[in-house]
């Protein structure tokens, strides 16, 4: 932006306190361009939501949530996908939290700062940007074949955990780094060991931000299709998934959407798929709202 030049005394008498002519126009124009950018993004989102809602709202019903998939569009449902997605969520959360937060705590609070930890950090940051299908292939070769888990729920959960772990580690580290140095100093000055201070002061102070990062990564995980498709999710099944039945075949909402869109009937491609998309979006919305609520509730002055 243009730097405001101090008005010289003789100019001030000329035009009172009005801004130099060019400044105002430049200011307004730039704001307009920025507004336009925001509007385009919002418009795309709005069109998407409206379009999906119009197509899908007719297909939504309680039956749609509680029925298994069927050949007939009016009888089909996403019960298997819903239970699969929820089971995956539970398992991914259970595995990601200790691993991600543990790694972040180690790297941020205890690891020496040397060449190896820097290399490790660079790798974690890079992993966060690896395309998700690559994680699918990893899941297929490591969990399905090498470890012999087959095309089971645990394979899907492990694959998604591997996918979001780097993101959770990065987010958790940032959360820990945002805890003021003085908190640690205060704890150590009272005779706390570094571990006690990390566990009882630093980590609790960072938990809201960590939870926010966790939930946002989870919502990314349950929207993912490619990795679990490669790692053995099935298109449809006529049974529920439960998080404790690790060896069963599994499916998930995005997989079912993919399945619906592929079917020859127009009803499946438009109405049923859109309805499933709506369910998925509501799920994501709930998770993101939870993240926002947590962030606000535990903001530091709370």
């Amino acid at each position: 932006m243009a730097v405001a030049t101090p008005a010289r005394p003789h100019e001030q008498t000329d035009r009172g306190f009005r801004a130099p002519a060019g400044d105002t126009i430049r200011e307004k124009f730039t704001q307009l361009v920025l507004l336009l950018g925001t509007a385009v993004a919002l418009a795309v989102l709005a069109i998407l939501i409206v379009d999906i809602t119009l197509d899908g709202v007719g297909g939504l019903s309680l039956d749609f949530l509680t029925n298994y998939t069927s050949r007939f569009p009016e009888e089909t449902g996403i019960r298997a996908g819903l239970t699969g997605t929820l089971s995956l969520m539970v398992l991914v959360a259970l595995m990601t939290f200790p691993l991600g937060v543990g790694a972040a705590l180690y790297l941020e609070e205890f690891a020496p700062r040397n060449r190896w930890t820097r290399l490790l950090e660079a790798n974690i940051n890079n992993l966060a940007g690896v395309p998700s299908i690559v994680y699918g292939l990893l899941g297929l070769s490591v969990f399905v074949f090498f470890l012999g888990f087959g095309r089971s729920l645990i394979t899907g959960a492990l694959t998604l955990t591997a996918l979001v772990l780097p993101v959770v580690i990065v987010a958790s580290r940032e959360a820990l780094r945002a805890v003021p140095r003085e908190i640690r100093d205060g704890g150590l000055a009272l005779g706390g060991t570094p571990l006690q201070v990390a566990a009882r002061q630093t980590l609790p102070a960072a938990i809201p931000a960590i939870m926010t990062g966790m939930i946002l990564s989870l919502s990314r995980a349950i929207g993912e299709t490619a990795p679990i498709l490669v790692a053995g999710a099935v298109f449809s099944r006529r049974a529920d998934n439960e998080p404790w039945n690790l060896n069963e075949a599994y499916t998930a909402i995005p997989i079912q959407i993919f399945d619906f869109v592929k079917r020859p009937q127009a009803e499946f491609q438009v109405e049923v798929a859109s309805a499933a998309i709506l369910v998925l979006m509501v799920l994501l919305l709930i998770m993101n709202s939870a993240a926002i609520i947590i962030r606000n509730r535990y903001s530091r002055n709370g």
Binding site: P112, R113, P180, E182, I183, D185, G186, G187, L188, A189, L190, G191, G192, T193, Q196, R200, Q201, P204, A205, R300, N301, G302
Partner: protein
């Protein structure tokens, strides 16, 4: 005084060993609790004409990497007195105060050489546990740094991590009373410490330091973030605490040093060489505060005190 003594008993930790030397003294444990060796021969006899020596600092230097921050400091800190460190910025006084509870250990590049004896025990000896040192030698920081938790939880953290077998409610009340904060917060112990004013937060931090029953309290510019009224509160409090604790304070405020301290150490920053403007700290002199401020031995002290440099 009797009242004070009985309060003290409730907070004293199980590891505190009273020498039984004098009933009127607050367990000055001539032998620190972490000391595993038994050099008891000289430990009992520390009383000098100047009073008991808590810290005996000999030729201490601190380096950050290869850069010296503080060179060859030797001085003694007496028991139950307030010793003030004053001097211009960059003279290493904050670095120095951090040597007393081994906080410099937490900075990977920092290296402390020389010897600091705490009641005859070398603080930097191999068998000494820095964590235990920090429990016995408390610290209050420049910026009030309460934990983002309730007032109550702020005060129970120390006793909990040190596994002190005490009644936590009593510790909370006693330490808050000693820090002259009890009446202001007794009805809101469950409130977040951040809801207190800056001055109250700093007194809470002092109360927090008292919960683990240290013998020494280090204060690194404890009033620099506070307004004059809050500062006056803290200074009154220090005078009060001096009866039971040994206090070392770093301050930029010379009037503060003159007001509260019994003894004052003046540090200065020296340039390493002609073509290198890295500076390091050096102790110029230490003496009774009245002497330092009215009739210092060194010209540099006089110039600083009278505002001609620094």
């Amino acid at each position: 005084m009797d009242q004070r003594m009985s309060e003290q008993q409730t907070t004293s930790s199980p590891v505190d060993r009273d020498t039984g030397k004098a009933a009127t003294q607050r367990a000055p444990s001539s032998r620190p609790a972490w000391s595993k060796d038994t050099e008891s021969g000289s430990a009992g006899d520390q009383a000098t004409a100047e009073g008991d020596i808590v810290f005996d600092v000999r030729d201490v230097s601190v380096h950050y990497g290869s850069a010296p921050a503080l060179v060859n400091v030797s001085l003694k800190i007496r028991q139950r007195e307030i010793t003030a460190f004053i001097g211009p910025s960059g003279c290493g006084k904050s670095t120095f105060i951090r040597c007393f509870n081994r906080t410099n250990d937490l900075i990977p590049t920092a290296k402390v050489s020389g010897r600091i004896n705490y009641h005859e025990q070398d603080l930097y000896a191999k068998e000494v546990d820095a964590v235990e040192v920090r429990r016995r030698i408390g610290m209050v920081f420049q910026k009030p740094n309460p934990f983002p938790k309730s007032i109550y939880d702020n005060l129970t953290f120390g006793p909990k991590v040190n596994r002190m077998k005490v009644n936590l409610d009593e510790v909370v009340e006693t330490s808050l009373r000693r820090a002259a904060l009890w009446d202001e917060v007794k009805n809101k112990l469950k409130q977040n410490a951040y809801s207190l004013s800056g001055g109250q937060q700093q007194r809470l931090c002092i109360a927090r330091a008292l919960t683990v029953d240290p013998e020494v309290i280090l204060m690194d510019e404890p009033c620099s973030a506070l307004d004059p009224i809050a500062t006056a509160h803290i200074e009154d409090l220090m005078r009060e605490l001096e009866r039971d604790y040994t206090i070392i304070i770093v301050t930029h405020n010379m009037q503060q040093a003159a007001r509260v301290s019994d003894r004052t150490a003046f540090f200065t920053a020296e340039v390493e060489s002609e073509n290198d403007d890295r500076r390091f700290g050096r102790l110029v002199e230490i003496g009774d505060t009245s002497m330092i401020f009215s009739n210092p031995n060194d010209k540099r002290t006089e110039d600083y005190i009278s505002g001609r440099f620094g």
